[in-house]
Symmetry: C2
Subunit: 138 residues, 2 copies
């Protein structure tokens, strides 16, 4: 998953190449803030003043179902999106809406090993995620 062009990524997933999809995917890849559909829309409007919010939602759904992006787990009523990249976790600010990626291979391996060995009764694990809440100091 290294430095693949947006168009290549779309066609690899069997998605028709449109200016809107290119723009939406570019914005998601450029932003590191786990944006809402509205935030994505604001950024898109700079170069695509007429893009429809419906198109954005529909496109996000297409990306979700292809596994290009994922939704961020949240307690809020507004969906936030994240590109899919290597196993990572999320840091949540308890006071603001800020969310940051947190990469920690050792943590991932440790929990993964534990859960694979453990075998939870009546449940077949597919994946897991860790949310760490607290406060940013910068």
């Amino acid at each position: 998953m290294v430095n693949k062009s947006t168009i290549k990524l779309l066609s690899e997933h069997g998605l028709k190449i449109t200016p809107q999809r290119i723009a939406i995917l570019d914005v998601i890849m450029a932003l590191n803030c786990h944006p809402t559909a509205d935030v994505i829309c604001d950024h898109l409007r700079i170069n695509h003043p007429h893009i429809s919010i419906g198109t954005i939602y529909k496109t996000l759904d297409a990306f979700l179902s292809k596994g290009i992006i994922e939704k961020v787990l949240t307690e809020s009523d507004t969906a936030r999106y994240d590109r899919v990249h290597d196993k990572h976790h999320h840091l949540y600010c308890a006071e603001t809406e800020r969310v940051e990626d947190y990469f920690d291979d050792h943590l991932y391996q440790m929990v993964n090993d534990y859960l694979r060995k453990k075998r939870i009764k009546n449940f077949k694990m597919k994946d897991f995620k860790i949310q760490i809440t607290g406060k940013f100091s910068d």
Copy 2:
């Protein structure tokens, strides 16, 4: 937090005792399914046919701010609630909306020790949660 009566729990948190609040809290404590406001409403309507959905939301907010309940982390646009109890994690079905509690002290301690020692840069951890997605087999 052992076997405390609903009324006691309310007054301990400085909340006025009302039939609606008692009923809402009773339903949340009785249900083990991490219900939405709507599901709570359905259960309440059996004995409180005129309870207002607005009252339910307002009451849930009061319970949230007092720390009696918490929201479940989710990718969906409908909030789900859970009583606050001992450190636990959540099992999510990847296909249905089912969510179950998963208690695992060892897992909690292991991750907690790791994160406390690790000290993430620019971040003061307060708490963490683990979401395990997969499929139930019962």
